[in-house]
Amino acid sequence: MKPDPLIDSIFLAKLERLAIQWRKSFPGLVGGHNISHFAGPGQEFLDHRQFHHGDDLRAVNWRAYLRLEKLFLKMFQVEPRIPVRLLLDCSNSMTTGSVSKFDYARKLAAALCYVGLVRLDTMCIQPFAQELGDSFLSGGGRHRFIPAVNFLQQLKPSGRTDYFQIARQFISKYPQRGLLIIISDFLDDTDCERPLQFLADFGHELMLLHIWDDEDRDPPWEGQLDLTDAETGSTLEIGFDAAARRNYTVAFDEFAKSIQRVGLRNSGRYVGLSTGTTIEEAIFGPMARSGGIQ
């Protein structure tokens, strides 16, 4: 049976005018759409500098030479093509909740992938759980979108999350810096802030898309609960009342804030998304307002 399409064609048409944005300047191939601080063979004027022997005579500002009798060279901004990598959380914690966070994350990844492909960015989808899975690299236009969707549809959630391990593997696998979009619930029982900091320190620009279900933030249950951790399988018996629920929500919000701090501290972006928000609302709402996509 043919799986349901992740994104319908009407929504794809709306994504045509968007582009993934980043703030850092990365050395990359010419032909992208983001302006870099690096001077190079671009179209936009950047600055003048003294002419040195060997410089390209075509960039000499001859008007300035006629007036000042000194050779000045015009410098242009380069527009490099930067690799965009989507890290997609496929751990078991993404399957809990009344609405599957994993499906939501896949749809969001598909939308971002389409936006990038339309702008001729190179998109790399990298699933992860305890370690990095097989990646999917795609670039060169919107006609490469269908294989990307097929790849996303065949992903299955399993295992637990280990951000230390995946940070280590990612740095060794992708030495070229670029934009790193992480779609995850960031629920790692050890710690996910330090691995994220490692990735930022390595030179990647982080765009953290924090997905949660309403049940994750504000559990609807009360009374005596037998709880099982979806990733580790550990259990907890707890009496859960209104006060406990308030404490729970406060703790969750504190955790979200810590993730947000990591993202913003390293000139990155953070967007928290509930699964109750539709993908369209998420793209044109919180993500557009954050500047990650415009």
């Binding site: 979806a230 009496g239 955790f255 947000q260 928290g272 509930s274």
Partner: protein, 631 residues
């Protein structure tokens, strides 16, 4: 305090079951729930109170209590809790309205049924609004018109639509039916009320058993009345063209009266008679008149009284049917005396040369000749040529002596002649199904073959032999003709009577399997036979035919019979009640109970139920928080 809809054990059983269900659901709702969550880290941070302490303690006991109280209130509302005595609760009455034929009698300008309807409506008006009434129409049958109904409009409509029928009143059946209805369908039996004249047969009144809760509202009718008891017509046994009319007349009044009777057939007077009858006396009269034609016979009592339905009886008399018999014979004078001796037969004598095979009516007799084509109708063959006989001739014997008759068959009924000797006789070969009517030592001399058409073959000529002077000869032909055409010879009698149970006196003990009792549209009517009495019941006016072999009795059940005496009950209450027999003093509080129960459930949902659902539905997203906008 009492329950209207439930008894106390039923109420407690239902309440116990529902309470157990609510408590079970409550415990189920508050039992430990198993969930799989994304992480336990925040639950661990939220955990405050000891776990086991909660497990042994009822949570939200007020919710449970409120639910149980609400449930109790709603159940009390359903059970229709009332304050007061159960004796004052609504009752179920049965109103028996006399719809017998006598109710059509007039007293002054109104009919008795109009007075009965007015009295019934007055009684219903006096009842409390909560009392239920079943309306039953009573003539020879008790017919319920409504169930136990509290809607006064429906009850009055049923009363107003009641009309007098054609049958007499059978009060015992109506009372039995009312008692049974109260026993089976009534929640709290009230009164059984009889409204009507109560005229019943004199032989039934003494044996009536009246219920203790009976009330009668008598409708007084005319005291003087004169009418037919029975009118019947039948053909005379001696002369089939003569009708015998039997009329029975009764003076139902308390004074002696003299009333003339006139009988007409087709508008022409047949006879008159004056009856001088004392009070309660009954007298009969018989008339005879002769006709072969069909027509209407009208018997009329020339009197003016309040009930004219039984002063006139009209009966339709059929024409006399004749059986055509075509005789092909070279010697017609030999056979002519035989057929003229049988009434109802029209014999035609023709020579064998004029044989017509296309005769489709009656019977054909072939005297010593065989036609080229056999007749299509029933036929009698006399000494047919041996090689062309319809029944194979075994041999021809001389000086044959007739030895015995088949006496157990209708064909041989009454045939006793013996020592008959024939000079020449054909002996037939009898097949299966054939009836050997007369036999000699050599074999069958007269054989009848049933089927369509029927055939009787003589091996000798009865008139050319010594049998000519025997009584057996016309009797034998009469039996043959009766066997071939039983409808023609069936005796016919028409009686006008009233609907109900009809007893028919049979001439002899007849096998019930040969008796047919059918209505005018041909539907069979159940009947019983005890000795020589056949009994059937018809609840409606109409025509019923009783066929018993060679006799047909037609009952025109259209003559109403008013009943001999007026039934009264000494133990029953009489007349309309002076005040309402059951005043409602109990108070309906079920609407308040239902309201309180609903309010209790609503309060429980607001205080305890909504919190759970509300927490689950509360939309909180981090991107709406102030710090989220900093990104």
């Amino acid at each position: 305090m009492f329950f209207l809809n439930l008894s106390l054990p039923e109420f407690l059983a239902v309440l116990g079951s529902l309470s157990a269900g609510v408590v079970a659901l409550y415990l189920l709702d508050r039992m430990r729930k198993i969930h799989t969550v994304a992480t336990l880290r925040f639950f661990a941070a939220a955990e405050k109170a000891p776990v086991l302490k909660h497990r042994r303690k009822l949570q939200q006991p007020w919710s449970l209590l409120l639910q149980l109280i609400s449930l109790l209130l709603l159940l009390l509302a359903i059970a229709q809790l009332r304050f007061g005595s159960p004796a004052r609760a609504s009752r179920d009455h049965v109103l028996i309205l006399d719809s017998s034929a006598w109710m059509a009698a007039r007293t002054g300008q109104t009919r008795m049924i109009d007075q009965a309807r007015a009295a019934a409506r007055s009684y219903v008006r006096l009842l409390p609004a909560s009392d239920r009434v079943m309306v039953v129409r009573a003539d020879v049958l008790a017919t319920p018109v409504t169930l136990f109904e509290s809607d006064r409009q429906k009850i009055n409509q049923a009363i107003d639509q009641t009309q007098p029928g054609a049958a007499p009143l059978s009060i015992q059946e109506a009372l039995d039916f009312a008692q049974q209805a109260q026993r089976l369908h009534s929640q709290r039996p009230g009164e059984i009320v009889f409204v009507g004249a109560g005229r019943v047969s004199g032989d039934k009144a003494p044996s009536l058993s009246t219920p203790p809760n009976l009330r009668t509202i008598p409708i007084n009718g005319p005291s003087e009345h004169f009418g037919f008891r029975k009118v019947s017509v039948r053909r005379s046994f001696t002369d089939t063209d003569t009708w015998e009319v039997f009329v029975a007349v009764k003076n139902y009044g308390a004074k002696a009266r003299s009333v003339p009777l006139g009988v007409q057939f087709g508008g022409a007077p047949v006879g008159t008679r004056r009856f001088d009858l004392k009070a309660g006396a009954e007298e009969n009269a018989t008339f005879r008149f002769k006709t072969r034609a069909a027509g209407w016979l009208e018997a009329r009592l020339i009197t003016q009284d309040a009930f004219q339905q039984d002063d006139r009886a009209v009966l339709e008399l059929p024409a006399r049917k004749l059986l055509p018999v075509t005789v092909y014979s070279t010697e017609p004078d030999l056979l002519r005396p035989v057929f003229t001796a049988i009434p109802g037969v029209q014999a035609t004598f023709r020579p064998p040369a004029s044989y017509d095979a296309n005769i489709h009516d009656g019977i054909v007799l072939l005297d010593r000749f065989s036609p080229p084509a056999p007749p299509a109708v029933d036929s009698i063959w006399m000494e047919p040529p041996p090689n062309k006989s319809p029944i194979a001739v075994r041999n021809t014997e001389k000086k044959v002596k007739l030895k015995n008759w088949r006496a157990d068959h209708p064909l041989g009924a009454g045939l006793r002649a013996k020592d008959l000797e024939f000079q020449n006789a054909e002996v037939f070969q009898v097949q299966t199904g054939d009836i050997a009517l007369a036999e000699s030592d050599a074999g069958a001399l007269i054989v009848a073959r049933p089927g369509k058409p029927k055939t009787v073959v003589f091996g000798f000529h009865p008139v050319r032999s010594g049998m000519k002077y025997e009584l057996t000869t016309p009797l034998l032909f009469a039996n043959i003709l009766r066997w071939m055409a039983p409808d023609i010879f069936r005796s016919w009698e028409l009686t006008a009577g009233s609907a109900g149970t009809v007893d028919v006196e049979l001439e002899s003990e007849t096998n019930p399997s040969t008796i047919h009792v059918v209505t005018e549209d041909g539907k069979p009517l159940p009947f019983t036979v005890e000795g020589r009495t056949l009994r059937f019941f018809s609840g409606a006016a109409g025509i019923v035919r009783v066929l018993t072999g060679d006799r047909e009795l037609v009952y025109s059940l259209t003559l109403p019979q008013p009943g001999d005496i007026v039934w009264t009950s000494s133990s029953a209450k009489h007349g309309l009640p002076g005040r309402s027999p059951a005043q409602p003093s109990s108070t309906d509080i079920w609407p308040w109970l239902a309201l309180l129960g609903s309010l209790g459930l609503l309060t429980d949902w607001i205080l305890f139920g909504r919190k759970q659902g509300g927490a689950a539905a509360a939309p909180h997203t981090l991107h709406r928080l102030p710090w989220r906008k900093a990104s």
